[in-house]
Each structure stands twice: as C-alpha cells, then as structure tokens.
C-alpha cells in the first residue's frame, strides 16, 4: 500500500470512529432520557468535546491530503464526501448534546403517555437505525443501502409534522406538564434534524461512490 493509500484509509477509519462516537452519544442520550439518568446525560455533554476534537482532526487530515497529494477522481470525491460527512456527524453530536442538556434541565422523568402519543421513541429508534445503516453504507460503499435512507427520513418527517398537534393535545389535557411537553417537542425537532443530516450523508455516499449529485433534487 502506498503512503497515499494508507493516509486515505486512515481518514476512512477516523470517519467510522467519529460515526461510532456520535452513535454512542445518541444512544446514551436516549438511555438518559428513558431512565432519567442525569449522570449519563452529563457524560454525553462531557464527551461532546471528544466529538469536536475528532471533527477537527479529520478536517486537518483531509486538508493535508489535498495539499500533499492533489487527489483526483474517486479519491477526490471520497475526501470531499468525508469532509461533509464529518460536518454532518459533528452536528448530530451537537444534537445528542442538546438532548442531554434537556434531560439535565428537566425536573422530572417524561411520562410514558407523552412518549407514546408523540411517537418520540419510534423517532429515536428511526434516527439511530438510519445513522447505523448510513455508516454501513459508507464503510462498504453500498449505495443501495444509502438510498433506503431517503424514504426512512420521510417517516421521521411525518412524526415531526404531527408533533405540533400531538403536543397541543397533550398540553390541553395536562396543563401542569407544559414544560415537559415543550422539552419533548424540542427533542422531536432535534431528532428530525438527525434524519436530515443522515439524508445529507447518504447523498454524499452516493456522490463518492457513483459520482452522482442528488443534492437539491
């Protein structure tokens, strides 16, 4: 393997490591929410620094490869995609951090009724599943798998779209739980963004492997 190939492989490994870190952050923020585990939520917040540091490391490694090797064709597309995927993953890291902050700020555990009526848990599952499959699509250059993400993101959009009505209904029936309802609505909004970021990532994977630009189509 040439030095160039080794460095490209290192970037791919780092992006996968970033993916695993961000997924772990999202899983922990879900667990913190379900168990009302403020310590775990604080752990997620503390680990956000690691996500940021890894983002900078990947950016810097890509920059070095651009400067030293002038990559072209599939190598160029890979690096461009890696840079954008890196940014998207860092934003998902921010989302996990934001959700964890709500848990830390929340005075009490969210009650089961609101989690069910808003489909928040399905949204969490959907986001995590999309992000996990996006990682596999990136790792194995599987654009068929990447393409499934678009329709699965629609499911998250649908839950998000229904959230206003569901939350209004819940508030009318549980006036003393307005704060809780607003926290849940905010978490739904954030998870909807995980779907959008994953969709962007899927577009980047297809660009990298097939040289097709799907953005804004």
């Amino acid at each position: 393997m040439t030095q160039f190939e080794t460095e490209m492989q290192d970037v791919k490994s780092e992006v996968i490591r970033m993916w695993q870190l961000v997924l772990s952050q999202l899983l922990k923020s879900r667990e913190a929410m379900l168990n009302f585990d403020k310590d775990l939520a604080r752990e997620v917040i503390a680990r956000e620094k690691r996500v940021n540091a890894l983002e900078l490391k990947i950016d810097s490694d890509c920059e070095n490869i651009f400067a030293l090797y002038c990559p072209v064709a599939i190598d160029l597309r890979f690096l461009l995609a890696a840079l954008k995927i890196n940014t998207n993953l860092e934003r998902i890291g921010d989302i996990a951090d934001g959700i964890s902050r709500y848990i830390v700020d929340s005075p009490a555990k969210f009650n089961r009724e609101i989690l069910e009526s808003t489909q928040l848990l399905q949204m969490f599952e959907g986001s995590i599943s999309i992000l996990t499959d996006a990682q596999a699509a990136f790792e194995f250059e599987n654009t068929l798998l990447a393409r499934t993400i678009f329709s699965r993101d629609d499911m998250l959009d649908e839950i998000n779209k229904n959230a206003d009505n569901n939350i209004s209904k819940y508030i009318l029936e549980n006036l003393k739980n307005i704060n809780e309802a607003l926290f849940v609505l905010s978490i739904i909004r954030k998870l909807e963004r995980v779907g959008d970021q994953s969709k962007n990532i899927a577009e980047e994977i297809i660009f990298y492997v097939e040289a097709k630009v799907l953005k804004h189509q």
Binding site: A73, L76, R77
Partner: protein
C-alpha cells in the same frame, strides 16, 4: 464537431514492425488546449509527432490513416507547409545557440529561405515575443544570444519562434518538465493567453498541469486512446477504469 480544426481518423503509427499508435480517432476543437497524458511508452509523443509529420523523419517510421487539418489530410500536404501550420515546442528549451534572440524568433523564415523586409522582421519579432510574454524581459537585449536567457525564458523564446511562423496549431511536448515551478507557472499562464489565437496540444506527465491548463484531456495507454473528454470530467469522474487507475496513481 462544429469547430474541429484537427481530426485523426483511424490513425496508426509504426516504428518498423512495432505498432506504437493504434487506430486513433480524435477531434481537436479550435482554440482549445488539449492535454495528452499516459504512462511512458504509451505512444503520446509519437502521436504528437505524427500530427506535424515529424514522425516520418525517423528511419523505418510509417503511418496509416488520416490526420485532417481543416478537413485536409496533412499527409497530402508538403511537410514544410505542414510544419508552418503546426508548430512544435520540445521538452528542453532549444534556442539556436549561435543566434541572437532576434534571429532565433525569425529562424523559421531564414531556414526556409523566406526573404522578408527588415521592417516586417521587426514587427514579427516584437509581436511574437509579446505573444510569448517575453517582450518586456528581452526588448533591450534582442541582439544577445538566446542561450543567455533563463530556462523558462528560453522555452518562451522557443514558443515565440513557433508563433512567428503563424501556425494554427501548437504542439508542446512536455514543455515545462525541465523548468522550475515559477517558470512553469509563467508558461501555463501563457497557454491560457495563446489559446485565443491558436489550438494547443500538450503532452504532459504532470497531471495537475493537465488539469490546470487544458480544456480537454486524452489518456493514451499501450498505443490506444482509452478516454478523451472534457478535462473536468476526466479528473472528477473518468469513465474507464484504466484512466481512473492512472490518474489516481494506482497503475500497475
């Protein structure tokens, strides 16, 4: 192609029995820079030398097929006329060592016995050196020997010498491979200027240079034209696996 100036049709070149350029079909658009790249021995320089009939100067070298310049086969023209119309600049700057800068520029006329008035000579020298972006650097030393110039200046002098004959096409065979990055950059800037008046075909091993200077790029491998496309496409999404392997440095 509507504005094609040069067209190779089923073009083959041989050194004796050795078939070095195979069935090339290629259209060169007017006022474009076309880069030709490929590994050593792939036939790119031979192809270039076939365009202005330099190939046939080597003993045992033959060609087959057609090379059309403005719809006329260059192999039906007088070779001297072909070389007026299709100028060439080589890898190493090669100004005539005993001639002044001035005489180097008009060497083509002198060597072909073409008599021109002093006033016309002055105009040709000034215009050619200006087009080659060398005039400002040498206008006060036109009668010094060309070999006193730096490598980059000598190469621009060679370009001025080629331009002086008012060709339609300029062939450049790795024109910057012997130059430092600054001289290389000067030549590349010059190519962008020159393509307004000439069609340029450049053989280069430097892929970044091909990307920087050319509108279209051709990839040759083992005498065959593997891929020929708009440069941007070639370097972002080549269609042939061999092109991709070559430009990404994974050629075995």
């Amino acid at each position: 192609m509507e504005n094609t100036i040069l067209k190779a049709i089923d073009f083959d070149a041989y050194f004796g029995e050795n078939h070095v350029v195979k069935k090339i079909n290629m259209e060169i658009p007017k006022n474009n820079v076309v880069a030709v790249m490929g590994p050593s021995g792939c036939g790119k320089t031979t192809f270039l030398r076939c365009i202005n009939r330099m190939h046939e100067l080597i003993e045992g070298a033959t060609t087959k097929g057609k090379m059309m310049l403005n719809n006329e086969d260059v192999y039906g023209m007088h070779p001297i006329f072909v070389r007026h119309k299709i100028g060439m600049v080589f890898q190493r700057p090669n100004p005539f060592p005993n001639l002044s800068i001035y005489d180097n520029v008009i060497a083509g006329y002198k060597l072909n016995g073409m008599k021109i008035a002093k006033r016309d000579k002055d105009i040709i020298v000034e215009q050619s050196l200006q087009k080659a972006a060398l005039w400002n650097e040498v206008k006060d030393s036109l009668h010094k020997k060309g070999t006193f110039l730096s490598g980059g200046q000598q190469q621009r002098l060679c370009i001025a010498r080629a331009i002086a004959m008012e060709p339609e096409v300029l062939l450049l065979d790795e024109p910057t491979s012997a130059l430092d990055p600054i001289s290389t950059s000067n030549i590349e800037v010059l190519l962008h200027e020159l393509k307004n008046n000439y069609t340029i075909i450049i053989v280069t091993h430097n892929m970044q240079q091909a990307g920087r200077v050319s509108d279209k790029t051709a990839f040759f491998y083992m005498g065959e034209l593997i891929e020929y496309d708009i440069t941007k496409n070639m370097f972002t999404n080549p269609q042939d696996k061999r092109t991709q392997n070559y430009i990404t440095g994974r050629f075995s």
